[in-house]
């Protein structure tokens, strides 16, 4: 079994228990409305993360490391935190969610982009301060 299948029988049994559950949920999606859009989003999710987002940030990190050497953390950490906020709160910062929000609730997203920029400035200010303190303690 191990030689032909490549793992223990338990490995196969675990798949045979849980993959049918996945298949059931996927079949419910395929049998429901907008099935093709949901499938496109599911495929795009893994492709965009693994083959676009990750290579992009890893490549940017490589450029930063080459340019900054030992000081790289003082730039990449605040930069990563800022971009993470931008990504997670994109709909309020870039106001892509504002149309539906205004139509539903009568409100607008106010100042999110400004507060994100201020938070970014604060992160880099903290980072710069930490860099100066470390350099000062070394010299």
């Amino acid at each position: 079994m191990r030689r032909r299948y490549g793992a223990s029988p338990l490995h196969l049994i675990a798949h045979l228990v849980l993959l049918p559950l996945c298949a059931w949920a996927l079949l419910e999606i395929l049998g429901g409305r907008s099935a093709s859009r949901i499938v496109v989003w599911l495929v795009a999710a893994v492709v965009l993360h693994d083959l676009v987002l990750l290579p992009l940030y890893a490549g940017a990190d490589r450029v930063l490391r080459a340019g900054l050497g030992g000081a790289v953390n003082y730039v990449r950490i605040p930069a990563a935190l800022s971009l993470l906020m931008l990504g997670v709160f994109w709909a309020t910062i870039a106001e892509t969610g504002e149309g539906a929000y205004r139509a539903t609730s009568g409100q607008t997203f106010d100042g999110h982009a400004e507060r994100w920029l201020l938070a970014t400035a604060a992160l880099f200010a903290g980072s710069g301060l930490a860099y100066l303190l470390r350099r000062g303690s070394r010299s």
Binding site: H11, R33, V46, N73, W90
Partner: protein, 416 residues
């Protein structure tokens, strides 16, 4: 077989931090967080009571048989479960990204499928990563009103969660021996003791392909990476959690969509409620009793009034707590000629002419709870039109949108 150049070659991957211990440690923390998100997510499905008339969004009977009658106590129950779902979900994003980064070399394993077992496992991992990213992206977009999906969010998020949960259970089952071995060989926390100068690659893992063959010098220690990821989680949490907790924290939630103290989920205008519908001609219809009853707002104000301070908690993760005054639902059941103890539920319709949430059913306990009411006032003043004037449902621990606004009729159900 010699792998093609690029990421398929083991020497392509240079981080000295990657290895079974790092992935196990990141995965263990992530597992705790996503377990909270999964449980509270399915609890939210339960809280919507999809088996009652008019409540199902995921087609009735096509969901997992995991339903129970949602309780009314504690009053902040749904605020807590849904607040955890949204906020822990947001805080888990950096861990998910770090975990996926830690295993990316395995995407380019060569040969791509070494055995039937390997092929099956790669299929399950593809389902896991795909459903994980899908669930996080759609959930976060929905909580911020970015409805760019072109599909029904609730349905897709529910079935996506089933795929995610099953694929995760499978992954954890298969990886437990690998995780335990990593902890046994390298200690639970020992690699976190090393500062940057002492950060070295993990001892080789002959099957894993995670430890770099030709590593670069480290630029951050493992504990530095954990502080980085944990700090990112904390930052995202601070940016959002105030809309759930309320009070002075609300203004601290600097990127959250809901920053006002008493948010309006849906305006009267959006719901197509006109002044004529809520004017002098307004009558609340009570059905299900021996004879139908119609009550004007003045009639409702003449009934015994009850006041309670109760939260409204939205599926989007925000909460607001206000002081509501109105007529107990059990009192209305009596007004309809029914013994409240015999009521098994109530089907509430709004004046709102259309929309998924123009109607909602309550279970028997929710009708009978001493704090459940048809609210006429909030904080001592008449309900504002946008908050449901002339009358709205307020039930403890009920998902926000089931507290129907602009109530037109209540149809009480009895067992007989």
């Amino acid at each position: 077989m010699i792998p093609p150049p690029g990421p398929f070659r083991p020497t392509f991957w240079r981080s000295p931090l990657r290895g079974p211990w790092l992935t196990s440690a990141l995965g263990s923390v992530l597992l705790v967080l996503v377990s909270i998100v999964i449980v509270t997510g399915f609890l939210s499905h339960v809280a919507y009571e999809p088996n009652l008339r008019g409540n199902a969004i995921v087609p009735a009977g096509a969901d997992l048989p995991l339903l129970f009658s949602w309780p009314t106590a504690p009053t902040y129950l749904y605020a807590v479960t849904q607040g955890l779902h949204v906020n822990v979900g947001i805080a888990a994003v950096p861990l998910l990204l770090a975990k996926l980064w830690s295993v990316i070399p395995r995407l380019f394993a060569f040969p791509p499928i070494a055995s039937p077992a390997h092929g099956l496992e790669r299929l399950s991992v593809a389902l896991l990563v795909s459903s994980a990213v899908f669930e996080f992206v759609t959930g976060i977009m929905n909580a911020q009103y970015w409805y760019a999906f072109g599909f029904n969010f609730v349905v897709a998020h529910y079935y996506g969660a089933v795929v995610f949960t099953a694929a995760l259970a499978l992954h954890v089952t298969l990886k437990t021996p690998v995780i335990l071995r990593a902890y046994r060989e390298r200690g639970w926390l020992r690699p976190l003791r090393d500062d940057l100068a002492h950060t070295t690659p993990e001892p080789g893992d002959e099957h894993g392909g995670l430890v770099a063959e030709d590593p670069d010098p480290p630029t951050i220690s493992r504990r530095g990476l954990f502080a980085f990821v944990g700090g990112a989680s904390a930052l995202l949490l601070v940016a959002n959690v105030g809309q759930t907790i309320g009070g002075p924290l609300r203004s601290l939630a600097f990127l959250a969509p809901r920053r006002e103290d008493f948010p309006v989920n849906r305006t009267a205008r959006r719901a197509e409620i006109t002044p004529a519908m809520v004017g002098a001609a307004y009558r609340l219809r009570l059905t299900g009793g021996p004879a139908d009853v119609a009550l004007a707002r003045a009639d409702l104000l003449a009934l015994p009034q009850h006041t309670a301070r109760l939260p409204i908690a939205c599926v989007e993760g925000w909460t607001t707590t206000q002081e509501w005054t109105g007529v107990r639902l059990s009192e209305l059941a009596a007004a309809a000629g029914l013994d409240a103890a015999a009521v098994t539920g109530a089907y509430v319709r709004s004046l709102q002419p259309r929309g998924v949430l123009s109607k909602a059913s309550l279970n028997g306990d929710q009708v009978r709870d001493a704090d459940s009411m048809l609210a006429l006032k909030v904080n001592g003043a008449d309900l504002p039109l946008d908050h449901g004037f002339p009358a709205r449902i307020i039930v403890p621990a009920l998902p926000g949108v089931h507290n129907t606004k602009w109530v037109a009729s209540i149809d009480f159900g009895t067992a007989a």
